[in-house]
Amino acid sequence: MDRSPILPDLTDDQRAWLLESEQLWREAGGIVAEQPDLDVGDVYHALRSLRLSPGERLRRGLTRVRVRPHSR
């Protein structure tokens, strides 16, 4: 793992998150370079969303609160 001084005082988990996130921003930048009409932030968040399961994506986006909590 990159332990360069540019990432000081971070835990391993924090450093891993930052490196992964930076990689996504880099990938988003590459996509936007090819399609400049896109917003790099939108592409970044889409790349992040695509790492989730489809069900989790929908769960996060459905805003109307259920009438009551439920379990199986």
């Binding site: 939108d42 069900g55 929908l58 996060r60 459905l62 805003t63 109307r64 009438v67 199986r72």
Partner: protein
């Protein structure tokens, strides 16, 4: 605590539609979210090519709800406890015949229930054709997601 996407009634409804052989597609922003878009929606839009009243009514009944063809200003709907997020869609702008779109739909599982979902590119086509401000406003995020998807293997 377990976290499910669907309410129990929604899960039963989708299971029963499947069991009764009622074809439908999840369309709109719900489909876009499943395909990876960020954003929000209040509804789960189910597009039926044609409504088989008996079967849709039976599926709704087994889910603890009911189906109505509409009343006054009320469009056709599935109602009942835990089903208020479900919207019945009978016409979808900018899309081909239901059978064609259904044949090209994507398959997902929601809480273990198999569902068919309109692909993101077709959601975009539909929203563009609708030309409603709220749909047009969502296009930048959906287009960004489509571009991102093209860099990822299919779900």
């Amino acid at each position: 605590m377990s976290e499910f996407v669907l309410t129990p009634a929604e899960r039963i409804l989708l299971e029963e539609l499947d069991r009764l052989g009622v074809p439908y597609l999840i369309v709109g922003m719900g489909a876009a979210l499943l395909e990876g878009a960020t954003g929000t929606t209040q509804d789960l839009d189910l597009w039926f090519g044609t409504i088989d009243r008996a079967k849709v009514g039976e599926a709704a009944r087994r889910a603890g709800g009911f189906y109505t063809e509409g009343y006054g200003q009320q469009p056709p709907a599935i109602g009942g406890e835990g089903l208020d997020r479900v919207d019945v869609v009978l016409t979808a702008q900018g899309l081909g015949p239901f059978a064609d779109e259904h044949a090209q739909a994507r398959s997902y599982e929601l809480d273990g229930v198999p569902v068919r979902v309109l692909p993101l590119a077709r959601v975009i086509a539909s929203k563009r054709a609708s030309n409603r401000p709220k749909d047009l406003a969502q296009l930048p995020i959906l287009e960004a997601t489509l571009a991102a998807r093209q860099r990822r293997p299919p779900d």
